[in-house]
């Protein structure tokens, strides 16, 4: 990595943002933070981060999803391609349904939301770094 990758964290939990910032900046990433989806959109627009960490539970789940769809619907390639990793405890006990109500039996989260992956809370910093690095590598052109 020649220039440090810039990562936008969109999360209303400021303490979590602080912890993640510490973990990421310790590994040389530049961290940007936004505490609500609107601010997240604005920062993404202005700063074009290399990756977005999005908390889907802020403050209601739909808002986080809405953020994803809004980004992906834009014409500009950047918004359609910037890797988004979702931070949540959705793999555990939530009522969020990422899979169709009925259908072919596929229920794995992530296949229906256009994001690059999910990171379970609580977040293990090593795991976070690995996932972020991997997503950035996949997104790197060429």
């Amino acid at each position: 990595m020649s220039t440090p990758a810039r990562i936008l964290i969109v999360d209303d939990d400021r303490d979590l943002v602080a912890a993640l910032t510490m973990a990421l900046s310790g590994r040389g990433f530049t961290v940007l933070a936004a505490h609500d989806p609107a601010a997240g959109q604005a920062v993404a627009e202005a700063e074009r981060p290399d990756l977005i960490l999005l908390d889907v539970m802020m403050p209601s789940a739909t808002e986080g999803f809405h953020f994803v769809w809004q980004m992906r619907r834009r014409d500009e390639a950047y918004f359609r391609e910037v890797p988004i990793l979702i931070i949540s405890a959705i793999h555990q006990q939530t009522e969020l349904r990422f899979y169709p109500e009925s259908g072919d039996g596929t229920y794995r989260a992530g296949e229906f939301l256009p994001v690059q992956g999910f990171i379970d809370k609580p977040i293990d910093p090593e795991d976070l770094i690995a996932r972020v690095t991997h997503a950035l590598e996949l997104a790197r052109p060429g």
């Binding site: 912890a19 405890a89 977040i123």
Partner: protein, 491 residues
């Protein structure tokens, strides 16, 4: 006293009145038989015996009996619908004509009193018609004069003691009236002949003797009938009261059950909300501690933060379990149903737990003997159920042991079996095993880990899917949990 709104029922007769109305209906059916029986008897009698019966008036009287019976049928039909007051008012007015108010069943409800008046009215009319029939067929000479006994017995069965004696008296007076009217030429005498002879009906001592015999018979019948019927009616009343009380108690119980169910649900929802609220901050605490631990720290700080992180982890686990438990209890399975590839899900959970098993030196096997179908189920719940059973089995199996997960077709649908060669569960712990926060003593001695909620979740999820869990265990040999899930396969 629990009182819930909206438990109103359409008006029905009180039990005592309903019982009486049913007997009146029986009386009406009996009367149809009597009409037919008497007509047949007339036809036979006038062919066999050379008597001059007043056939036209006899048939006219019989027709009147039939006509009245038709009327009774209509009135009965109305009486069975207590919301239609009109019929009852008619019955009451007519009934009072023949039965003075003292004959009304004292202390009874209005519907019962109406039904009693109705019965009084019928019996009185019947007796008048019987007296008329007898008049056209020999009057006092007619041996069928004793048939008044039936009216008295019916009165004893249906009505009060007083009413029965009144009807016995009415019968006696009617016959006496006919006899004296015929004796004095006020009414024509239709002779039957036979033992009475042509002038027998004018023989005062004979007539009085006949009336005496009739009176004695009727009063004795009234006495015997009311005594027996009284005893039966007391029993009946007791059983009516008892069944009424039982129905009332059943209703109360049902309401209490509903209340309990509601409060249980409310409790689950509350638990869920609390757990949900705890989870967010806990996740952040854990993450923050993990981030700090990833940094370079002086050994004493690392130790402290490490302890805090472990404890936060335990707390998160309990929170997670509480959420799972309340979810399984609160969410109807229907709401969460989707298509679950069961074998695939089991494979995933087994692979997820394999590192844990490897660390513990426990061999982990998955045997899939069901056709690998996909079922309508709650994936989160089923996954939780599998994970909890598997994690438990690994946790309580010493190094060198073996844990086997089996999926098979069961009697109800799918059978999930998790067998281990672990420490086993003491027999005295079995009854409490599925209780929340319960951990058997040997389990607590073996490892401090475990919230004591895992099996409660397993049971709740099984219940949510209409299934159940059983356990077989032997201390020192191992444990097998069997979950029978009546899952619906999806083509």
């Amino acid at each position: 006293m629990i009182d819930l709104p909206g438990t109103g029922r359409p008006p029905t007769l009180p039990p005592a009145a309903a019982e009486l109305v049913a007997r009146v209906a029986w009386l009406i059916r009996l009367r149809w038989l009597a009409v037919v029986g008497v007509a047949v008897f007339f036809e036979v009698a006038r062919r066999i015996f050379p008597v001059s019966l007043g056939l036209v008036p006899l048939y006219a009287t019989l027709a009147a009996l039939a006509a009245f019976n038709l009327l009774w049928v209509l009135v009965l039909h109305r009486l069975q619908q207590p919301q239609r007051e009109g019929a009852a008012r008619w019955v009451r007015a007519l009934g009072r004509l023949v039965a003075p108010p003292v004959l009304e069943e004292a202390g009874a409800d209005r519907e019962t009193r109406d039904a009693a008046l109705f019965a009084n009215l019928q019996i009185a009319v019947d007796m008048v018609l019987l007296a008329t029939l007898l008049h056209f067929a020999g009057g006092i000479e007619n041996p069928f004069i004793v048939f008044f006994i039936f009216h008295v017995i019916i009165a004893a069965m249906l009505l009060s003691r007083l009413a029965t004696y009144v009807h016995a008296t009415l019968g006696l007076l009617l016959v006496a009236a006919v006899a004296f009217a015929e004796m004095h030429g006020l009414l024509r005498h239709w002779p039957l002949g036979g033992t009475w002879g042509p002038e027998g009906y004018r023989d005062l001592p004979l007539v009085v003797a006949q009336l005496f015999v009739l009176g004695a018979t009727l009063y004795l019948s009234a006495y015997m009938g009311t005594t027996v019927a009284g005893r039966m009616r007391r029993r009946e009343h007791e059983s009516l009261v008892l069944s009424g009380e039982l129905a009332h108690k059943a209703e109360i119980l049902e309401r209490i059950c509903n209340r309990l169910e509601q409060s249980e649900r409310a409790r689950s929802r509350y638990m869920r909300k609390v757990a949900h609220e705890l989870r967010g901050p806990l996740g952040t605490i854990q993450t923050a501690l993990k981030v700090v631990l990833a940094d370079t720290l002086p050994p004493s700080s690392r130790d402290m933060v490490g302890r805090a992180e472990r404890r936060a982890g335990e707390l998160a686990e309990v929170t997670q379990d509480l959420l799972a438990l309340s979810r399984a209890r609160d969410v109807a399975a229907e709401a969460a149903l989707t298509v679950v590839p069961l074998a695939e899900l089991a494979r995933e959970v087994v692979e997820e737990q394999r590192p844990v098993a490897n660390r513990a030196g426990v061999a982990l096997e998955l045997e899939i003997a069901e056709p690998g179908g996909r079922y309508r189920a709650d994936p989160q719940g089923i996954e939780q159920l599998l994970r909890n059973l598997l994690a438990n089995a690994i946790r309580y199996t010493p190094s060198g042991g073996r844990v086997t997960v089996r999926l098979a077709e069961g009697p109800a649908g799918v059978r999930v079996e998790v067998a281990d060669t672990g420490i086993g569960i003491p027999e005295e712990a079995l009854p409490r095993l599925f209780e929340e926060f319960y951990r058997a003593e040997n389990a607590r001695e073996f490892t401090p880990d475990g919230s004591g909620l895992g099996l409660a979740i397993v049971r709740a999820v099984a219940g949510q899917h209409g299934g159940y869990v059983t356990v077989a265990s032997e201390v020192g040999r191992g444990t097998t949990f069997t979950v029978e899930l009546p899952l619906e396969p999806v083509a």
